[in-house]
């Protein structure tokens, strides 16, 4: 059983050991590679002097702020477009024209308008998060059981009640999936902005280590960012299971 569970770890651990051995045997001197043992030491050092923790705080702040703003805008638009066909048709061309713009391409404009710092990064992250939430929540609202909409009409629910009591709860499990997707995108975009230009957070940390010719520290940042992305996704997956276990269950039986 434990052996079975350890099997997927066999290959990565083996590869790391082989790399370590190779690096030591050849007395590796490189600006881009470092043996795993040195990466671990660099990571421990960055944790000990809190530099990587401060960078993590900065990156996560921008990530979550952008995610929150982008999600709210995307959700509001998605629900509105899902409910009103007229509005959806009116906005169709606009949305399809703006949506394919890679969010990172906004960087020069955002930089001129807002300068370096959190605000510029948050705006770009938010822009990236709007679209998946908009598209998926619109689809989720559209696929709310039509019978429930008839029930809400028969009960004479007010428009606001209809949205809050029927549409959002019915669409929530699918909206949360969209939120999870966007959270991953938000982290990627935040780090990208930092690597490209913004002098804060984990992305800037990587660039600094690279310019200081510290491949061990650079790779330590890389490993750390991977761990954060993994933890974020795990957290949201667990939250999804806890929050919507029952909804998912009843959704299956419908």
């Amino acid at each position: 059983m434990t052996l079975d569970r350890a099997k997927p770890l066999l290959l990565p651990i083996g590869a790391l050991l082989a790399f370590e051995g190779w690096a030591r045997a050849t007395h590796l001197q490189s600006d881009s590679l470092a043996p795993p043992s040195e990466i671990v030491v660099a990571l421990a050092g960055a944790l000990a002097d809190h530099s990587i923790l401060a960078a993590t705080r900065d990156t996560l702040f921008a990530t979550f702020a952008g995610l929150a703003i982008g999600s709210l805008i995307g959700l509001a638009l998605g629900i509105a477009f899902g409910i009103s066909d007229t509005l959806d048709r009116l906005m169709e061309v606009t949305v399809e024209a703006v949506r394919p713009i890679p969010s990172i391409a906004l960087l020069p404009i955002a930089l001129i308008a807002l300068g370096f710092g959190y605000r510029m990064e948050i705006v770009i992250v938010a822009f990236a998060c709007i679209w998946p939430i908009l598209i998926l929540s619109r689809a989720a609202v559209r696929s709310v059981e039509p019978r429930l909409m008839e029930v809400s009409r028969a009960l004479r629910l007010l428009a606001a009640q209809r949205v809050l009591k029927i549409i959002i709860p019915a669409a929530l499990p699918r909206i949360f999936v969209a939120f999870r997707l966007s959270a991953g995108i938000a982290l990627i975009v935040a780090v990208t902005v930092e690597i490209a230009i913004n002098p804060l957070g984990l992305g800037a940390g990587i660039m600094l280590a690279q310019q200081a010719l510290r491949p061990d520290l650079m790779l330590a940042y890389l490993v750390w960012i991977g761990a954060i992305g993994y933890a974020l996704n795990m957290l949201l997956t667990v939250a999804q299971r806890r929050l919507f276990g029952r909804a998912a269950l009843s959704g299956d039986s419908l």
């Binding site: 019978r147 009960l155 004479r156 019915a170």
Partner: protein, 227 residues
């Protein structure tokens, strides 16, 4: 329709039974003519008119408990938070679901779910109750039990009922009047007054000579429409 009347609509599939009900409910608008309620045209659904759908599994909110589902109608009616628990309790008792308030629809049987939907409709304190094949998906025993419960609930509230069904026996058993529809285009093909004594009884009523006569007449009509 007379106020307090129990009208049953029968007919072959696709003859417009459900459409007639949705028109009466104000969910659809007629292309010609008018549906009126208390002398006013029905341009949209009204609170005094409650609808019981056949597919209770889709008409109930799966994320709300039984109490929460009944509460939805009270919330729509603007009943204050403090009044709701007592009303919910009384309504669940009325439809035979006391003690199931905290269950979710997915944890209830089909019959219980349909009772719950009826409780939610009664929470509207309707003057008219529109029922679209409400027992079509239930087994025979549950169905008979619910038929009698609906009859006694309706007798107690004096509501007007339109009851759509494909079960001819059920139509005669429940109704004061039975209307048979003809398809293409949907129109009234037969209208029978049911003068059977009330309260009705699953055995005595169904053995009544008048019941058998009406049953024969209705069967012949349906058979003729299917040819």
């Amino acid at each position: 329709m007379r106020p307090g009347e129990f009208l049953c609509i029968v007919g072959a599939s696709g003859c417009g039974k459900t459409t007639a009900l949705c028109l009466a409910a104000g969910l659809y608008q007629p292309t010609s003519g008018a549906v009126t309620f208390d002398g006013q045209p029905m341009l949209q659904p009204r609170r005094e008119i409650a609808i019981v759908f056949q597919d209770y599994g889709k008409a109930l909110l799966p994320w709300r408990t039984a109490a929460g589902n009944v509460s939805l109608a009270l919330e729509a009616g603007g009943i204050s938070v403090t009044e709701r628990p007592a009303r919910i309790d009384a309504l669940l008792r009325k439809v035979g679901l006391p003690g199931h308030a905290e269950k979710y629809p997915a944890e209830m049987s089909g019959g219980m779910q349909q009772r719950l939907q009826i409780a939610r409709c009664l929470a509207q304190e309707p003057k008219a109750l529109l029922m679209d094949e409400p027992f079509g998906a239930l087994d025979a025993m549950t169905r008979q039990g619910l038929q009698d419960e609906v009859l006694s609930l309706v007798a107690a509230s004096n509501a007007t009922v339109i009851f759509v069904t494909h079960d001819l026996d059920e139509a005669i058993y429940l109704g004061d009047r039975v209307v048979g529809l003809l398809p293409h285009p949907g129109r009234i093909g037969i209208e029978l007054a049911v003068n059977l004594p009330r309260p009705r009884d699953q055995l005595a009523t169904r053995e009544h000579p008048e019941f058998l006569r009406l049953r024969r007449q209705l069967f012949d009509f349906i058979k003729a429409t299917e040819q």
